[in-house]
Symmetry: C2
């Protein structure tokens, strides 16, 4: 099998460094992609550092992958050499469970093959992600990318974009809805752009007054400093939805009270400890708490097409692969607007 | 104002006893009802004993009231002397907020006038509940009761019935759905009857193997002893909804895992401490946690009409008012199938 230049973590503690991996030759249904850009997701750090447990090393992270097709298998019908293509958070799934048949492979009931830190569906062959020059994936799990957009800025749509797009669609967010966005990072900034594009009135909820200008420039109509009681009081009982992108520990009950009757708090991040839920906050206003996980292939393609049509892309800082360890440190401090994207030409 | 024989708590500790209260003469829009039966809800005990704080004494509990109209105001159009009538958990609301205008007076944004342990909308006149010979209520907050049903068995529909009917309707439970019912008390036994009548396949979830025969006789197709791992494993990831009627502390995360993708845990009871919510259990299967509180007047009437059409009533034990303190003690032990109803002729 051909060797492919990559960047890998060898264990939970040492910095990432250059590493060579084997990728399979494209099979009949495979698309081989020369990776041009890969976004850096906070979950890369969690998994590199084994913060969720069970990490498999060597680990080549990265699941916000865009590039150009260099070869296709004999039975591939949707891609040809030279096409732009993308890979998101998974590269295969069982294809037969109820979730897969519903096009919701992210909830595959026998666990899908995550793009890295996982195995192919044979449950033996390790998967390696996008911090790499090349990847080979079945065309069914490969996305079409519009040539109209800035390719580096498209990469984060494959995770941050679909993670926020999917719940907005599932809950049918549209004109007339008031949407709070909690956390203005990689996910949050996409939630603002997408919700605004769908016609919602968006309020960014933040502990930092310094983020107001950024929130407004992303399109948010309102900004509330959540430590300021005078700013918070008027939005209590007013929001239809809150998109909660925060993975740090935080008090869900405070935010629940911002929802009007029948409002929904949509959780996208997993805090380290299970938060407490004041049941009265749900019952007293028929509110709901929901979760959502990335999106299926069909919906991810729909999101990419939607973003192309509406000229929606991530705000990014492009880095060479050699800066990845420093980028991780900056992400830990929230020092990035709003996503690092690795220029794979630097590898 | 005429004096009316009642039964009241004078403080949080002493037993309830006979007491005389004043009720207004019926105004132009009022219906005066001679109370025939009043159900005994667990929230009567919470409020009598001041377990939720802020209790107002003397307190005449009872919000599952049925009786016969003895007088109507000059502008009353929907009731006439001799009609059967019912009163549920509230006797008035602001009538102008968004929730009241939507017919969801239970969520009245300036707080409705609860049937007891509250005040009329003047925020001065105390309200007294159904442990009483008579009540006077605006016809807009008075329900029509079918003469086709056993009146004593209808009383608990005014709280236990609507509390379970409303979420089943809101979440559109119907044929093809698998519904778990957690807790087989006043609320739970109504949830079983109503969900079965709507075509759902119902599984009673209980810690007590002894309840299986009862669950089946109420119409539940399945019964699972939740302490028995072999019984629980097959229902993991299978239920569309769980109606959770338990007010005691319990682990929501265990039950969440019984829900399939897109399943909803509907909380009707408020445990003493805020339960912890494993966010992963939501995100990993796009599950939801929701709350629901009784129902509005329009939906309560719809429920009463539905129950008349489907011959659905509560299973009850009729008691004389003098036994109310003993009944409270038995309820604390779960020793009632499934609702005590006071025969007000005994007062």
């Amino acid at each position: 099998m051909p060797e492919v230049k990559s960047y890998a973590a060898q264990n939970a503690k040492d910095p990432l460094g250059p590493f060579s991996i084997s990728r399979r030759q494209p099979g009949d249904f495979d698309v081989q992609i020369e990776i041009l850009f890969c976004g850096v997701c906070h979950s890369d750090i969690h998994q590199v550092r084994n913060e969720w447990g069970g990490s498999m090393y060597p680990m080549v992270p990265g699941h916000e992958i865009v590039g150009r097709v260099s070869q296709v298998g004999s039975k591939v019908t949707n891609f040809k050499e030279g096409d732009l293509a993308g890979i998101g958070c998974f590269v295969d799934s069982c294809r037969t469970c109820a979730s897969c048949l519903d096009g919701l492979e992210q909830y595959c009931e026998v666990h899908n093959a995550a793009t890295y830190n996982s195995t192919e569906m044979d449950r033996k062959t390790p998967t390696y992600g996008g911090y790499s020059k090349r990847i080979v994936v079945d065309e069914k799990y490969t996305l079409k990318i519009s040539p109209e957009l800035d390719l580096a800025r498209v990469a984060p749509l494959l995770c941050a974009g679909i993670t926020t797009y999917s719940p907005l669609r599932q809950w049918q967010v549209s004109k007339g809805h008031k949407v709070g966005v909690l956390g203005l990072g990689g996910l949050g900034h996409m939630a603002v752009k997408l919700a605004v594009s769908m016609g919602a009135e968006v309020t960014v909820l933040s502990t930092s007054p310094s983020k107001e200008a950024d929130a407004k420039s992303l399109g948010a109509q309102n900004f509330v400093v959540t430590k300021n009681k005078e700013a918070v009081d008027p939005i209590m009982n007013t929001l239809d939805f809150i998109i909660d992108t925060v993975s740090a520990q935080h008090d869900l009950n405070f935010y629940l009270q911002m929802l009007k009757r029948d409002g929904t708090l949509i959780l996208l991040g997993v805090p380290p400890e299970a938060p407490q839920l004041s049941v009265f906050n749900l019952i007293g206003k028929r509110r709901r708490v929901a979760g959502s996980l990335i999106g299926g292939i069909k919906e991810t393609q729909e999101m990419l097409d939607y973003c192309a049509e509406h000229q929606i892309m991530s705000d990014i800082e492009v880095i060479p692969i050699a800066d990845i360890n420093e980028a991780y440190e900056r992400m830990m401090k929230g020092d990035v607007k709003y996503r690092f994207v690795i220029d794979m030409a630097s590898l």
